[in-house]
């Protein structure tokens, strides 16, 4: 998977990595901090971090001894934007579908999905 967006999706496919990312949205953490809540080895956590790093989602500063892990919010935002844009397109279609269904409702009083809208029309 050479596509950067695919790497981001793949990195976030794992629940532990998603949880790590969620915690990093609040503050930078050291590897030890990050590992604390999980019942896995430090080595396993380092492996997860490597996947997140390769996807460009997190970086680790070189200079400080504790090398805190930092979330690259821009990459994360970009992905969120693609999905939100896609969602908005779908929602635009569905809003048009709402209108089509409302018209069908009017033309089809024998099959009312919203009885309250039909009240007063019953014989």
């Amino acid at each position: 998977m050479t596509d950067p967006l695919s790497r981001v999706f793949a990195a976030l496919a794992d629940p532990t990595r998603r949880d790590m990312v969620a915690r990093l949205t609040e503050a930078d953490h050291t590897v030890n901090d990050l590992a604390a809540p999980y019942d896995v080895s430090l080595q396993a956590v380092s492996k997860h971090l490597k996947v997140l790093e390769e996807a460009g989602l997190v970086t680790r500063t070189r200079e400080a001894q504790r090398r805190p892990v930092h979330l690259e919010a821009e990459v994360f935002d970009l992905m969120t934007k693609w999905i939100e844009r896609y969602r908005r397109r779908a929602e635009e279609r569905f809003t048009r579908l709402d209108a089509v269904l409302a018209r069908m409702q009017d033309e089809d009083p024998d099959n009312p999905a919203i009885p309250t809208k039909q009240e007063g029309t019953a014989s």
Binding site: S6, Y86, F94, R96, M104, I114
Partner: protein, 171 residues
């Protein structure tokens, strides 16, 4: 008004999920309609064309045979805000049933790519029906390309427009 609905998720607006396990996109949306009405809106070509296409122009149905083993094609025209585009899609109906439509979906700009779409219409029992659409793509790359394209804009034009909007911060 004691209710057990607190744990019940509602989708008054579309919810999207990029599946983590397989290259699929899920969409959920609740409608004020019966399953039969939602089914008609997806299988009657006149009704379908009135909502599926871009807002101002809509879609031209070029072929429509909504039954098991039938097929469909349509062309959508619109504007990405800078230039007009025209794009077409085709596929085959595999299962056409009141509560379920299974079909293939190909964007003609990438004729070798094909997604398998499964639409289910679930009666929520209160006059509403839930649409759950799953599009299973060939690969994660194709799936993610769909997510980026928004499915309506020609991919190259679309990418350029999206890149511009992202650069301008207007997305």
């Amino acid at each position: 008004m004691t209710t057990m609905q607190q744990t019940e998720t509602r989708y008054p607006e579309a919810a999207i999920e990029a599946d983590a396990e397989v290259p699929a996109i899920h969409i959920w949306r609740d409608f004020q309609a019966t399953p039969a009405q939602l089914f008609r809106a997806h299988t009657d070509p006149e009704l379908f064309s009135s909502w599926v296409g871009p807002t101002d122009v809509g879609a031209d149905i070029t072929h429509w045979d909504a039954r098991d083993g039938g097929s469909w094609s349509y062309t959508a025209r619109g504007s990405d805000g800078r230039e007009d585009f025209e794009t077409s899609f085709h596929g085959c109906f595999h299962t056409v049933r009141e509560d379920r439509i299974v079909q293939t979906f190909t964007w003609d700009g990438m004729p070798d790519g094909v997604a398998l779409e499964t639409l289910t219409f679930e009666d929520l029992g209160d006059g509403r029906t839930r649409l759950h659409a799953v599009s299973l793509c060939d690969s994660f790359e194709d799936r993610d390309a769909w997510l980026r394209s928004g499915m309506e804009v020609g991919v190259n034009d679309g990418y350029a427009a999206i890149d511009r909007m992202l650069a301008e911060g207007s997305l």
